[in-house]
């Protein structure tokens, strides 16, 4: 019989263990299929769901665990292996990462950071605890010939998947965690267009040189799909979610014309998702997309995205209750706990209130995964980080209050 979770929630003292009915994997499975599990799943480690290296170290000290010594490739930078930390925090998801090529420097953020140029010709630098990609190796793009001449990386290098299937299989068989395929690319085609062409050129091309842009986007998207193919061949059977990342928004609205998105980019997003689902039909596709992106959401649903992250809830049109009401039938939401005011500057009560609001606004009927509205930055106090994970589990319990 199902225990009375609500009663437990209200009688247990804060910090005491809440009786959990489901495994993490089951909990996420229900949530991403729009059903209510025992509590809202909580995540750390995915896109827009990271710690700075300083915060990681502070948590390592707090819990007293050891580094595994391994680093993982996360988007276009690397982080320590989070798994021991995630065990301490009790989060529900564990992430699988495509391996970097041998020439990639798995830098730590700190004085020993070594700038380098990667297989795309992109220069990796560091500032303010954030990695930056420079160099614009296709900044000179003028013609189809330039697209053909560019030395596109080979997704099929064996080092990219070294030991990956074994890692996935082990986590699948010997743990109950929900397994997520972190994006096997720095970002998807629009994100990479901005890195490779430079932001201004990429934006200008969307308005001025549609034909060349489309030829470039087609080729780039196809190469990136190759990364998904090798990744899914290794981890597909074991994961529940795979991530994609495209930033289409600014703080105030769309970064580019939504009509252009629909006509030129959308078909390639749909193609990528179709290819992913052909290889791994059971997998839900998450899109990481920052900003005020409400105007894109119907097209994103139409392209086949299942989960949206990180829900910058402080931005216009991204109000959680409105998103849930308008798109909650089709989309699962992951994120939304405000970083800008609450996690950085609030206290425990503010964090409790914020989590309660998010859970009540977005958690009804499942379809919500608790996570911050963006990566945890260096100005998030340690006690706030701990509060987020503790309270997230306490306050996310179903049935919801409201």
């Amino acid at each position: 019989m199902r225990p009375d979770l609500k009663a437990i929630k209200h009688t247990e003292e804060r910090g005491a263990a809440i009786l959990e009915q489901y495994s993490s994997r089951k909990r996420v499975e229900l949530a991403i299929h729009h059903q209510e599990p025992d509590r809202v799943p909580i995540s750390l480690g995915g896109s827009a769901n990271h710690l700075t290296e300083n915060l990681y170290r502070a948590l390592r000290e707090h819990f007293g665990f050891q580094d595994t010594g391994r680093r993982t490739l996360v988007g276009f930078y690397s982080t320590p292996d989070y798994n021991p930390l995630l065990d301490c925090l009790g989060t529900d998801m564990r992430f699988l990462h495509l391996r970097p090529v041998n020439s990639f420097i798995m830098n730590e953020i700190g004085p020993n950071f070594k700038p380098f140029v990667d297989e795309w010709g992109l220069r990796h630098e560091l500032l303010s605890g954030y990695y930056n990609l420079g160099g614009e190796p296709l900044g000179h793009l003028e013609s189809i010939a330039d697209i053909e001449k560019y030395p596109w990386p080979d997704p099929n290098l064996p080092e990219r998947v070294a030991g990956l299937r074994e890692e996935a299989e082990k986590l699948f068989n010997f743990t109950d965690y929900s397994l997520v395929g972190h994006r096997p690319v720095y970002g998807n085609a629009w994100e990479m267009s901005r890195f490779l062409l430079g932001v201004e050129k990429a934006l200008l091309m969307t308005a001025k040189d549609r034909k060349l842009f489309e030829a470039f986007f087609d080729k780039l998207s196809d190469v990136l799909d190759g990364f998904y193919a090798v990744f899914l061949d290794a981890v597909g059977p074991y994961i529940q979610i795979v991530e994609m990342a495209e930033d289409l928004g600014t703080n105030n609205g769309p970064m580019l014309n939504p009509k252009f998105y629909r006509e030129v980019m959308w078909p390639y997003h749909r193609r990528t998702i179709e290819r992913i689902k052909k290889k791994a039909p059971h997998v839900k596709v998450m899109l990481h997309c920052d900003g005020a992106i409400r105007r894109f959401i119907p097209d994103l649903i139409d392209a086949g995205f299942d989960i949206l992250n990180p829900i910058e809830s402080n931005l216009v049109g991204m109000e959680p209750a409105g998103l849930k009401n308008d798109f909650g039938k089709d989309l699962v939401f992951m994120g939304g706990v405000d970083l800008v005011k609450v996690l950085t500057r609030g206290n425990r009560t503010d964090i409790q209130n914020e989590i309660r609001s998010r859970v009540n606004e977005m958690g009804k009927g499942g379809g919500y995964i608790l996570a911050p509205s963006h990566n945890f930055t260096n100005d998030v106090p340690l006690e706030n980080l701990l509060s987020f994970f503790e309270e997230g589990k306490n306050l996310g319990v179903y049935p919801l209050e409201g």
């Binding site: 630098e125 500032l127 303010s128 308005a207 001025k208 600014t250 703080n251 100005d379």
Partner: protein, 213 residues
């Protein structure tokens, strides 16, 4: 083809650099003064681009190509304006603050400020407080515009303002701030004169703040 001014206006809205260049030259040949073209055609066209952006009909790419077209026209007018000693709307130094490399927003603000008739001194990214101070002292700017994308670098806006104050320069310039984590409330709390949430609003805000010029 109609009269050059209306062709220039339309070509700026459509981001058609070639037509802007051709029609500005034609207008000058017809004897229309550079200052008139700037103030009655180029600047109003960019103002409409800003309005269309705010209304959600134009997006960043449309704004960028319009600004490029406007700049093509402006580059023809500039030597003539200098000869005529025509005044700009003011001189603005702009940069992202120390520690912040994120310049997409800052570049758009630069474009829109130029489009609104300001002379803009772009200091680039990761600009130390000392550099802002130096520019105020040596370049006689009317305004300093600073941005930060991260909550962790936002504090350097305040720090820069503090240094400007300590050097006794605060009364010499207006200060406008912006960037993702900032709000008007925050701008006010640190003593900035102005705040803008996007590039189009930044141009409008600068016109209000330096309106007395």
């Amino acid at each position: 083809m109609g009269i050059p001014q209306s062709d220039i206006y339309t070509a700026i809205l459509e981001g058609d650099e070639t037509t802007v260049t051709e029609q500005v030259e034609k207008a000058l040949q017809m004897g229309i003064p550079a200052g008139v073209l700037l103030n009655e055609t180029l600047i109003p066209a960019m103002a409409e681009v800003g309005d269309l952006f705010e209304k959600g009909e134009y997006f960043v790419p449309e704004m960028l190509i319009a600004a490029r077209a406007m700049k093509a026209g402006l580059s023809i007018l500039k030597p003539l304006l200098a000869e005529a000693k025509a005044e700009t709307n003011g001189k603005i130094a702009i940069g992202t603050v120390k520690g912040d490399l994120h310049d997409i927003g800052k570049n758009l603000v630069t474009i829109m400020l130029e489009g609104a008739g300001f002379e803009v001194l772009d200091l680039g990214v990761d600009v130390p407080a000392e550099r802002f101070v130096e520019v105020i002292e040596k370049e006689h700017v009317d305004m300093v515009a600073m941005s930060a994308l991260l909550t962790t670098t936002m504090v350097n806006i305040e720090m820069t303002m503090k240094m400007i104050g300590e050097k006794g320069l605060r009364d010499k310039v207006k200060i406008m701030v912006g960037g993702a984590p900032l709000t008007r409330e925050y701008a006010r709390s640190i003593g900035a004169d102005g705040f803008a949430a996007d590039a189009s609003q930044a141009a409008k805000e600068a016109l209000v703040l330096l309106g007395g010029k």
